[in-house]
Amino acid sequence: MSTDVVATLAASWFAALDPSLALPLQAGLGVIGDVLFGVLLWVLEQWYWLMDWVYYFTGLEMLNPDYRFMHRALLVGLCVGVMAPLIGTFLVHRQLALIGDALAHTGFAGVAVGLFLNAVIDLGVSPYLTAVVVAMIAALFIELISEVTDAYNDVSMAIVLSTGFALGTTLISLNAGGLAVGVNQFLFGNLATVSPQSAAILLVLFAVIVVTVALTRNQLLYVTFDETAAEVSGLSVNWYNRVMVMLTAMVVVGAMQIMGVILVAAMLVVPVAGATQVSRSFSESLLVSVVLAELAVLLGIAASYYGGVTAGGVIVLFAVAIYVCAVAIGKVQSARGGDAPPDMGSIEADSIEVGAGADDD
């Protein structure tokens, strides 16, 4: 993961510094990018095909084959519904719920950087790609501040958040004359503007996030639950924290397309908060939060299509409604579930053999 970032970073630095040096590098990256993009477009084609079938079976107007943008929006929404709560679960339980907001605002700065570079040196990159890079740098920056000062600090997060937004607005105003794209779609998200290219970027982010979490979920859980014990047991806590914030930056930028900068953090937090109310175990809460998020996304996208309202806002409203239901269900559960506490087993004072005492509770 980090090598990708370094490559992209290096490429963008070189591009900014020296055009002659950047050319072969860009060409090399370009070939790899084209192949990858081709594969992703193929995946997208398969998705269209699947959605067409769903349309023929259900007759849902929203899935009309003429509305490819809705198919893409649905794909992006479903991916976001998986990856946001996946990462959000770790963040919420570390009391880092607001880091998503901070990174979204730096993501906005990244969008502005992309638009600026496109306008000034005609780089031709997707603003979402620059948003990923800038948000990940900001994520590392927040993490480094917390490592140096020994605590996650809401002041440092607030500083990064406002710096990001300030940089974004400044760059955009600087560039206002040459900007064809409105800023609104980045601030509030827009179903209709999910291009095949940004859907492809999202698929890459989705794959990176899901695979990384699948590989490191044990370590992330240990670090989330008990940082000191995790460190004693030999885990490099700082390293996993860095992984965590980088993944957060990716989720935030991925979700920004339909949620917008301002609302994106809600997807990291609200479904997780709901799942926490009703789940008993950690794995259950991961699963429930994904289900709740998907529910909110599907209802939200449908409502925004048929009601003609902004998707991001409706999705968040549905998520909050679901959260309220989850709180109510949780209360009912704990009121009714007053099952008698089991007897405390005795400590096996003489047990040397482990298996022997397993059933005597």
Binding site: L221, D226, S233, T276, R280, S281, I347, A358, D360
Partner: protein, 294 residues
């Protein structure tokens, strides 16, 4: 006890397999300060395998800092700290150390079951590490399909059946089997500490380090908790206990280290009770503690 049950965990080394001659903890003239004022000054101390050592001292005496130096979470400004013979900060065989902190007071509102907490003790054992070296090559030759699927499981951090057995055994040892599927937030302080001990047991640690583990735990559970520690120590686990409750220390530990920036006393518990180290280390506070040892 898990540490002696090598059959159920063929992949895991156990305490009895290891040479026991070197001290587990070895601090030599260690000095550390968060600022220029040292919190721990010129502390030399060794802990041998099988000992039950209590570290006592007034608030702010550097007990927790000393523990962090021992575990390699901090690096001494001066002097050396060694853990199992290696420089403590570079020690990475984390499965040998179990750590139990003051969790009872800091309840996290996280949905997680007791079994999931205990399972964390196995995390340092899962992973590709267990396939490294000659064992991996041999098992690949004997059972290629099984080994590859085990390796895939290991990459994705899945616990093997043997790991789960160790988790269940650890739960049984601390008497928490019936609570395995309960949410940790629903437990009392004492039950929660038992769960954390079980996690340390599941990691098959040789060394158990406890930082004021009974703060916020009800009196009955405290007794049961110390009984458990005594049992574990008898079975060969080295226990280092950082404790505020001097009564408990005098009753349970074999050796006491009395700390207030420097070591005021280091020796058998009986001698500690008779010495004036307490008065010197605690200063005026000792007036309230004179009942100790009666």
């Amino acid at each position: 006890m898990t540490t002696n049950n090598a059959e159920s965990a063929p992949a895991a080394e156990t305490a009895s397999d290891r040479p026991t001659t070197q001290p587990i903890v070895d601090l030599s003239n260690a000095t550390f300060g968060y600022t220029s004022t040292p919190v721990v000054e010129d502390v030399s101390l060794t802990v041998d395998p099988g000992e039950y050592v209590a570290i006592v001292g007034p608030n702010g005496s550097g007990k927790s800092t000393l523990m962090k130096l021992m575990l390699g979470l901090l690096k001494p400004d001066d002097g050396t700290a060694r853990l199992f013979g290696e420089p403590a900060t570079r020690f990475d065989d984390g499965e040998r150390v179990g750590y139990v902190a003051q969790h009872a007071s800091a309840a996290k509102e996280m949905p997680i079951t007791v079994r999931e907490v205990v399972k964390m003790g196995r995390f340092s054992h899962v992973g590709l590490g267990r396939f490294a070296g000659e064992n991996g090559v041999d098992s690949l030759r004997e059972n290629p399909v099984g080994t590859v699927s085990d390796a895939v499981n290991a990459v994705f951090g899945r616990l093997s059946a043997a790991d789960w057995e160790i988790v269940d055994d650890a739960l049984a040892t601390v008497g928490m089997s019936a609570f395995a599927d309960r949410r940790v937030t629903q437990l009392s302080g004492g039950q929660r500490q038992r769960a954390f001990i079980a996690r340390a047991l599941a990691s098959e640690a040789d060394l158990l380090v406890l930082d004021e583990p009974t703060v916020g735990v009800d009196a009955e559970s405290v007794d049961a908790f110390y009984d458990l520690l005594a049992v574990l120590n008898r079975e060969g686990i080295t226990v280092i206990l950082i404790e505020h409750d001097l009564g408990a220390v005098v009753e349970h530990a074999d050796r006491v280290v009395c700390l207030n920036r420097e070591v005021y006393f280091d020796g058998p518990t009986e001698e500690f009770v008779e010495s004036d180290a307490l008065a010197r280390a605690f200063g005026t506070e000792a007036r309230f503690l004179t009942g100790v040892g009666e």
